[in-house]
Amino acid sequence: MHISTNIWTWVAVLLTFGIFSFLWKDNPFYKFCEHLFVGISVGYTIALTWYNSVYPDLVTPLFREGKPLYIIPFVLGLCYFCRFIPKVSWLIRVPMGFVLGWASGVAIPAYFQTNIIKQIQGSLLTPAIFARWDIFLWALISFIGVVCSVLYFFFSREHKGALRLASETGIVFLMIGFGASFGYTVMARMSLLIGRFQFLLRDWLGVIK
């Protein structure tokens, strides 16, 4: 066992235990760590945004290279500060309109292409599925599953008769899907805990490699 002598490792360990102390009960040490986390995250974001985005993308071209067109996004960006000046707070809507319009316009063809057209193509039953009996069976089951699951979400008509049968079949597929997601979620959460324990045992106590 080689306990770390690095003071910053001990700081990291203390903060780890501070957060873990919440498992016992809510306490001032946990609250301190929680609030510190929020403060440091935001401060880190400010610093990185300045050096990685604002300085190379705006300050350099506008103020150092003298490219006048950059004044437009600069002014649009400054409008965000108007949020805190009641008399002109409406100006914040201008950059928001610009960004929302741009993002929505760009998103529509992208969503159609990626999440509608390609997914429909993937669902279609093509001659290739007859290559083997199992490929055919799984493709058919998938197709039925997709159609029935979509029909489950169709609430414009009462689920009666054939629609009810399809909807109930859809529920079966949805439950299996949610079960699979839950199984994977268990794995995810446990992985994060294992990662923290690995840090404590390896970097702090030195009992594992």
Binding site: A12, L15, V42, Y44, S89, S104, Y111, W138
Partner: protein
């Protein structure tokens, strides 16, 4: 003007960017390049809103001495100190921001916050996960198969278990998730269209004008 200007800007940008996807003309591409640059700059300024809201909330809590006001000092101090260190000494590797604040404070705090979820998930699974209905039983079985199939012990129990888990993920789970994806994509497209056309105006906020 306070509402019509942002709405008009949103409409114009939305329609232009939708059409731009299909137009490879050099003017169209040049406009696309220009607006993509501007969006990155304006997006960086959006940070102002988040930081401003956080600072306003905590300064208000401090001023009015509301419950937990002492912790607001921690948040604000953390924010200011981190931002000053980052802006003053830079964000490059080896800087105090990266070596001390990121590595030894932000990482353990962030990681530990999510690591404790494992405990709560285990507790919730014990207390709340009840196989009361057929659907719940289906969900449970799918979860168990995936949980066992995705770890080495599952293969040790039955060598075909990973294959069976993979089948559950690739066939019924895939079908269910695809149906949900269709719904989400159609919803996103509909919302984007509503934003562009000014039918969805929640982003304008309330107040006068």
């Amino acid at each position: 003007m306070r509402r019509s200007l942002p709405l008009a800007l949103c409409l114009v940008m939305g329609i232009i960017m939708m059409i731009q996807f299909f137009v490879p003309h050099p003017v169209s591409v040049a406009f696309y390049d220009l607006t993509t640059k501007w969006i990155r700059i304006v997006s960086a300024f959006a940070l102002v809103l988040g930081v401003g809201s956080l600072v306003l909330y905590h300064t208000d809590r401090l001023r009015r001495k509301r419950a937990g006001w002492e912790y607001s000092i921690v948040t604000l101090a953390g924010l200011v100190v981190t931002a000053i260190i980052g802006l003053g000494w830079g964000v490059k590797p080896g800087s105090p921001l990266q070596e001390v604040l990121f590595k030894n404070m932000l990482v353990p705090l962030n990681a530990s916050m999510f690591a404790i979820l494992a405990f709560y998930m285990a507790s919730a699974a014990y207390r709340a996960f009840r196989a009361r209905t057929k659907e719940a039983v289906l969900l449970l079985i799918a979860a168990f198969v995936v949980m066992l199939g995705m770890v080495p012990v599952g293969e040790a129990i039955w060598h075909k278990l990973p294959e069976f888990a993979e089948w559950i993920l690739s066939v019924p789970n895939m079908a269910a998730k695809r149906a949900i994806l269709f719904g989400v994509a159609l919803g996103a497209i509909a919302t984007s269209l509503k934003v562009i056309l000014g039918i969805e105006r929640g982003w304008l906020g309330g107040g006068k004008g």
